[in-house]
């Protein structure tokens, strides 16, 4: 593969210094973390740099980590793909649990419009500058964010399913 991990790492570290860190090869994909405050600059750089050319945003989604310290309770995960070199990367940006917000990348990738709306819909993450940040799959009247871990999937009052008999506790299922 022509585009090596070290080349990506060196380029990013040279331009953004402390805002990109934790580089590692996770199985078949090169991944790293970024400082959420600088996400647009880093993603724009990855897209436009003549060597990196990560021109395709494959996927964008959120993750909730309620057990993390408060400044790392949400994460936004970007999967980017360079078709010229056939290289994928995964970028993670951790967000504050109290008031999760990050700048939108809709002006860099048109496709992120609905992906960010979906992430807002399910996690309540605010994408600053998004042109139309409203719910997409759930109904507009909903007040909770269902993919957060505290949101129960089933009615808590059900008695016909007793998880104790299956070796499960509230924490592991």
């Amino acid at each position: 593969m022509a585009l090596e991990n070290t080349a990506i790492q060196e380029k990013l570290a040279a331009t953004f210094a402390g805002d990109v860190f934790n580089f590692q090869q996770e199985r078949d994909i090169f991944s790293f973390e970024i400082n959420a405050n600088n996400n647009t600059a880093i993603i724009l750089f990855l897209k436009n740099d003549p060597d990196l050319r990560f021109h395709f945003l494959t996927d964008l989604c959120g993750i909730h980590y309620p057990d993390n310290p408060v400044e790392k309770q949400f994460a936004i995960v970007y999967h980017m793909h360079n078709w010229y070199e056939n290289k994928r990367i995964r970028i993670k940006a951790y967000l504050n649990g109290e008031n999760p917000e990050i700048k939108t990348v809709t002006n860099i990738f048109l496709t992120s419009n609905w992906m960010e709306r979906e992430t807002y819909d399910f996690f309540g993450i605010n994408f600053i500058g998004h042109p139309q940040l409203k719910r997409i799959l759930n109904m507009d009247e909903m007040i909770s964010f269902p993919m957060r871990k505290e949101f129960p999937m089933e009615d808590g009052g059900r008695t016909d399913k007793d998880d104790r008999f299956f070796g499960r506790t509230i924490d592991n299922c």
């Binding site: 996770e26 996927d59 989604c61 993750i63 999967h79 419009n113 609905w114 759930n138 109904m139 592991n172």
Partner: protein, 412 residues
């Protein structure tokens, strides 16, 4: 009239008011969907129209949202396959196999060559049915019912093959970690061979009905065209992107399940319009048929159909009754108590509509910590309003069916 349909604060209501009596015409609102026979699924578009021409569109989706990602966080891994069935239900085996391959990547399981080839066959059959439905329904939407009748029986033939392999037809829930739940019966291969004999002439006839058909060409050429740059910016993948001239295909870019062993072309179009999308899908069906033939030819001898992974692969039922070890494995697998590493996996496969991605985050417990499906329909459907701007209402219908938007995949 329009006031009845929209609340006064809606932006379309304002536009209509502003343009009232400008040139003697009044702009109007049309609700396309949510349940309209021509939308082939439940999704709504509020269209702002000037006569027959569409000025703007506002899509509403989510009518059949079933919270698969939330459900997946509460299910052991093997119970997630039925959820994947219900995404793109025109080609469920591709989704099933994609999910198993994600798990195999997570658990570092090497699938035997023969099982990989069997998977390739069933995935290509699924691609054929997916494209067959899309193209023949596109014919129906342009007024040509006949072609649909010619080829639709072959979807039935494919479903009979699925039935022989896994017992189900539409929502297949096919396979296991490491391969298939049982070996393919001789009957399955017999049905497959009959299909390979009978289907190509019918598909040729179908092509002949449409490809040089004057009415069809008038309805589709230069309708809903999208440039390659725009398509990539919108995250298009699959046949819709290839119709715009970009030869990106996951089967070639990141071969999985031994796709690198087969010799096939990636058909591409030029203008990215409805006609090109139709032709790309037609050509892909021929490539799929060729892949299936190659797979049958190169099929390794023997009857291996799954990997030897007792921790994850259910033992034969008769052993469970007579053998302590098998009983233990059976119990642990069914209860979801299998060892799972802590990892983050992204696995893409080429689905009927483009790159289906499974982003799986595990924390070592019996369920995924987070599972995100990259659903190609959801991603490219956001380009729809832009594609139909300036088109006629009848074009909007044709563009929608040529994009092959499947409601199940759109809403997950």
């Amino acid at each position: 009239m329009s006031e009845l349909l929209l609340p006064p604060e809606h932006r379309y209501a304002k536009i209509i008011k502003e343009h009232l009596n400008e040139d003697g015409n009044e702009l109007s609102i049309l609700n396309l969907g949510p349940t309209h026979p021509a939308t082939h699924g439940i999704f709504q578009n509020i269209l702002l129209m000037d006569g027959e021409r569409i000025i703007d569109a506002e899509p509403t989706i989510g009518y059949i949202h079933r919270a698969f990602e939330k459900i997946a966080e509460n299910r052991p891994f093997y119970q997630i396959t039925p959820l994947t069935d219900r995404m793109n239900y025109c080609s469920s085996p591709i989704n099933n196999m994609g999910w198993w391959m994600t798990l195999e990547k997570l658990l570092n399981i090497e699938v035997p060559k023969r099982a990989q080839y069997l998977r390739v066959i069933v995935m290509e059959l699924a691609r054929i049915t997916d494209h067959l439905i899309c193209n023949s329904i596109l014919g129906v939407d342009t007024g040509a019912y006949t072609g649909f009748l010619y080829v639709f029986q072959f979807r039935e033939k494919v479903y009979e093959i699925y039935e022989e392999i896994c017992g189900a037809r539409l929502t297949t829930n096919m396979g296991r970690i490491g391969g298939f739940e049982r070996d393919w019966s001789p009957k399955a291969f017999e049905l497959l061979n009959t299909f390979l004999e009978e289907f190509p002439p019918a598909w040729k006839e179908f092509e002949n009905l449409f490809e040089r058909n004057r009415i069809f060409i008038d309805r589709t050429v230069n309708v809903g065209a999208i440039s390659a740059e725009k398509a990539m910016a919108y995250g298009f993948t699959g046949p819709n992107l290839r119709a715009a001239g970009v030869d990106y295909d996951v089967r070639v870019a990141q071969p999985y399940s031994s796709y690198e062993d087969f010799d096939f072309q990636i058909p591409v179009g030029k203008s990215g319009d409805t006609y090109d999308r139709f032709c790309v899908r037609n050509a892909e069906v021929w490539e799929s048929l060729s892949i299936i033939r190659q797979a049958l030819e190169k099929m390794p001898a023997g009857n291996e159909y799954h990997a030897e992974v007792p921790d994850y692969y259910l033992p034969p039922k008769e052993d469970v009754y007579h053998n302590m070890e098998s009983l233990i494995y059976h119990f642990k697998i069914v209860m979801g108590e299998v060892p799972v590493p802590v990892a983050e996996i992204y696995h893409p496969v080429e689905g009927g509509n483009g790159e289906i991605g499974f982003y799986l985050v595990t924390d070592g417990s019996r369920t995924p910590y987070r599972l995100h499906f990259r659903r190609p329909c959801f991603i490219y459907y956001q380009a729809y309003p832009e594609m139909i701007k300036g088109a006629l209402l009848s074009d909007a219908i044709v563009i929608l069916s040529s994009l092959n938007v499947i409601a199940g995949e759109l809403d997950a």
